[in-house]
Symmetry: D2
Subunit: 368 residues, 4 copies
Amino acid sequence: MDVGIGIVGYGLMGRAHAYGYRVAPTVRELPVTPRLRVISGRDAAGVEAAAGRYSVEGWTTDWREVVARDDVDIVDVCTPPGTHAEIVEAAAAAGKAVLSEKPLAADYASARRAADAARAAKVANAIGFNYRRLPAIALLRQLVHEGAVGDVLLWRGSWLSDEFLDPDIAFDWRFERRMGASTFADLGAHLVDLALWTVGDVEEVAAQSETFTRERSGRAVDVDEASSALVAFAGGARGTLEVARVCARRPCDFVVEVNGTRGTVRFDYARLNELWLGDTADDGRFYGLRRIRAEHPSHPYAADWWPIGQGVGYGVSFVNQAAELLSRWPDGGWDPDLDQGARVQAVCEAMERAAAERRWVRVDEVTR
Amino acid sequence: MDVGIGIVGYGLMGRAHAYGYRVAPTVRELPVTPRLRVISGRDAAGVEAAAGRYSVEGWTTDWREVVARDDVDIVDVCTPPGTHAEIVEAAAAAGKAVLSEKPLAADYASARRAADAARAAKVANAIGFNYRRLPAIALLRQLVHEGAVGDVLLWRGSWLSDEFLDPDIAFDWRFERRMGASTFADLGAHLVDLALWTVGDVEEVAAQSETFTRERSGRAVDVDEASSALVAFAGGARGTLEVARVCARRPCDFVVEVNGTRGTVRFDYARLNELWLGDTADDGRFYGLRRIRAEHPSHPYAADWWPIGQGVGYGVSFVNQAAELLSRWPDGGWDPDLDQGARVQAVCEAMERAAAERRWVRVDEVTR
Amino acid sequence: MDVGIGIVGYGLMGRAHAYGYRVAPTVRELPVTPRLRVISGRDAAGVEAAAGRYSVEGWTTDWREVVARDDVDIVDVCTPPGTHAEIVEAAAAAGKAVLSEKPLAADYASARRAADAARAAKVANAIGFNYRRLPAIALLRQLVHEGAVGDVLLWRGSWLSDEFLDPDIAFDWRFERRMGASTFADLGAHLVDLALWTVGDVEEVAAQSETFTRERSGRAVDVDEASSALVAFAGGARGTLEVARVCARRPCDFVVEVNGTRGTVRFDYARLNELWLGDTADDGRFYGLRRIRAEHPSHPYAADWWPIGQGVGYGVSFVNQAAELLSRWPDGGWDPDLDQGARVQAVCEAMERAAAERRWVRVDEVTR
Amino acid sequence: MDVGIGIVGYGLMGRAHAYGYRVAPTVRELPVTPRLRVISGRDAAGVEAAAGRYSVEGWTTDWREVVARDDVDIVDVCTPPGTHAEIVEAAAAAGKAVLSEKPLAADYASARRAADAARAAKVANAIGFNYRRLPAIALLRQLVHEGAVGDVLLWRGSWLSDEFLDPDIAFDWRFERRMGASTFADLGAHLVDLALWTVGDVEEVAAQSETFTRERSGRAVDVDEASSALVAFAGGARGTLEVARVCARRPCDFVVEVNGTRGTVRFDYARLNELWLGDTADDGRFYGLRRIRAEHPSHPYAADWWPIGQGVGYGVSFVNQAAELLSRWPDGGWDPDLDQGARVQAVCEAMERAAAERRWVRVDEVTR
């Protein structure tokens, strides 16, 4: 059976998602065949070239056409964050399944509406937290849920990049709060998703934010460049989060660590085929962390790929994501869904508010 | 324009090559469109399933059919080493372009014949030294050739795996010398290729080999499990090489290092998105090696892939290889070609002979 | 000339300080000869054994005797934090030079009094921020001050240990707030000192704290086990700090990183002979961080030690500290002095207050 | 009881040994007190300064005086390798215990004579393989001997430094074969000692050597700068060894790895407080190597030092060595003794001969 895919947006995420659908059938036996029907974007020349490059059958400059097409079953939303919600709502209204890139929206209210729309329409829906699909990260969560680290006491996540460091980078939508979302939401959404998925609900946060380059191309920048937060989980664990785009020679270094009553587990994206695990049940002579090569056939997703030691990369997260969604077509039950996208957004927004108002903010102040 | 591909062999390499052709058009603009016409294998059920899984149009149990088909332009040889030469010769005779997996053959004489056949037939031809296609390794060679390390003094390469460690692994073709080739050739070919490509010709070698498990499933094993060699390059540099398949918890850890009059460069496959560089021209205060994130747009192949810091994996080497070959179609001029495959084979065979005869062996004893 | 040393406290710090004085003369030419005159402790058998073990001439169970002795020139305070201030004040009153272990006190008011007492008495005085004496950390600060990273934007420091993880560890003074100080102060003081030294004054903080094991040996624990803070520097930089003693299989892993407009510098104590530096002025082809081997003769303290690559350890920080103090005897002008100890204490106390009161706290709320 | 030490040679090794004796009593309870009585060297001003710096009571320009002194119990030989044997023989003849730096001599015959002289004189005797005294290396050997890696199959050792890279370094004794010994012996002796200690006897070797800078200060250099060897152990294991002094920005990077039927253990001196261990008995989900923090109180020597995670350095190897020797005074039974020095020398000489004669050389060709 063919499943028609329509991609809205042809930038990096559009490319990565197209890559995912194209490669997925070569690594896993799927019940359906994905067909890349159409891709949209506002620039005709750009989107036409992208359609050719990404092996998509057609293209359009109007995203509403993507949503309207009969041969499109899944609308895949890869536009800037500030536009996600409207497209998701339209797709749901048209009865289409929908996958939205993260963050689900530029604000919680929009995220909530988008998730509610999908639920009301009873369409399959998913949010693009692709890093969950890496073997090492999926293994981290599996180990924590199995009790390998005991009860979680501490969680920490950080994401250091240099993408905004140069003050001469021209203004674009990423620097516009209502379109690009906050850095808390844009980078932080991945970290917060992993925190909720691994540890559980966040109850309360304190935070700070800074924008060092406040004007670009003559326009005011209203997006935070470097932000950090203190996190109190509902279950009693504590956490810290840092997202920063002004860290020289740090391209995209995200690290997540969990410390529990029994052990420690740590993931460093710069070495994405590894997971580090320490277990107090091991003899003291072996004190330290193990460097697990997270490519063993027993590890999540790993058996679909290469022999252990060969390594996978970023692209694999999108291939695995596509394979997961397609393998459950048309039943849905996709996970993580847009609701998770909204839950994550609430935490990010609480952080943003905490930074702005210089006080601890409960997540339910945002959601209620 | 379409280019028809016929793949001989549907094991891991058949899968990896099919993956390469399928993904290549999504990462680079190519002058031609690869069509996976047919794949062959001796087991009908197995090859049929593989054809479906790898998105190949047809399948056959007779490799000669692959060679004979009019719609096949490139014969891609992914069978055990001992069968490569015959298939290459048949493909060349049929006027097909040919890509052979490494090692080119199980012995130098066969490798030589295969390379000569391709040259005589004037068909485009290539050998599958896929690791050259990783950004970090291509950058290593670029830096050495630009003089970043000065004149090369020392080269070292090692490949540690555990694939033969368990004595209970049943006998298969990998344990049969005439079919699976020596470990010098099977693992070592990659290292020797990199040595020749980076440093230059090898003149003479000494070596040792050991097989710790000499019988499997009641059959004698005549393939070396752990081998090492001393290397004298024609240009005066010295080298060491080690290939071993009995290293517990070492999945596929290959490391290459070059020391020159000016600097050092080092690659460790376990962290394949990194390259380490030391330069004596740098101030002593900065003494040490740099960890270059080998994903910068200025690095070979990197601009085709993801933003810096996201990482690529093993699969990318096959995609880049396919893209390189297709981008030069039909002119050919492929590099590395089968002749390089034969040159590498000569060095591997010299090592094997040196180990067997317990003496230094000149490479030209093999080739003359 | 001999300089008489009297050490108050014979635990780990007493041992480390004794080690420092004993070894210092063998690594650096000093204008004076340290004499370990006396060591004190409340347990006679324990302190007697320690005197023998640490090669100290005499011992006493009364620290006031140490302060009173004519042949003691420097009183070295190695007792629990809650007792430092009283001993420092007594030593200053007796006209002795004084070195206090960190944190200077268990609260800011006591720290302030101790520092003021030393200043009023015009005695040479120092605080034991020994990690400043490691080549890599001293180099980090030197590079930042020279502008190698440009203007500082972000600072982060974390200290992960497992020393309080086991709930069965019996109650001792470390778990008693007024004696062992807060974890913010006990571990954090090192990090805060490095922040102030490298970046500059801290203006304001938010924080959180948790104690997971609230009772030990039937006694209430009132010391935080895991704490974190957000930091706003007076100069506009932002920072994060985390100190935690419940991180399984993390023995004493402290990391400091600075990101500036030009570069990044990072230190990881688990590899204490290395410093990582990234510079945006380097060509993009070299993108990444350098691993500087922080043992080059041009590096601080390094020329006193071993050839590059051999490595130093923890003990060296105490030897270098002793050598620095002795090399300035009797002129003093020691750095860092007790005033720096008090400044650090103010920041730690602001963090503690911020955690308790769940609000941003200005450091000058503590100091004024 | 006092034990008088006389040190012959005041260079780096003289300094390191003096450091060892001085610090040893502060870390371990010893049955005797070492007294640094005298140090010798040919340059009066140099040795006088050294005596002051290293806290040695007296000095002389005539090493025979050291040997002759009544108050010297242990003669500690820290001169260039080519002079060791004569001094050892004189010391033994004078009934002194003797510790010789490695390599024991510049050739096997001299090494043999020195070891025989000590044995004949029945004096306590030791060879300075100080790296055995590092916790991580001692732990490596302990684990191998306990069977943690099973039967040893492969051993590899390499030592990469840059000390001879610069062709402008002036001629000194290190470049003179009969005085400085071969690089096989000077650097390789440590590696060979570890191989014999961990794996067992070496039976046969092949090797190569190169000297890239053949003249310095107008004098011919007859010492190898970069050498490598293939090793066949008597027990059936195989090995490789590389020693090189022309590796840019590699200060002193030595690595040892053992692969056995059950596991792998690896030590990298650049991270000397760590040991890496892989065990096939662990579940496949934990595939990889553990990074053991080799400072746990259960590890050799570790309890004498600092809390886990703090780290030790090079100096500690000499302190532990001194502590070991002194703790067995006057009974002796020192290990490793000069006989081990001679055994190691035989292997190094076999390698040197194998390189010169371009053939496999049995170690018993050297020793018989």
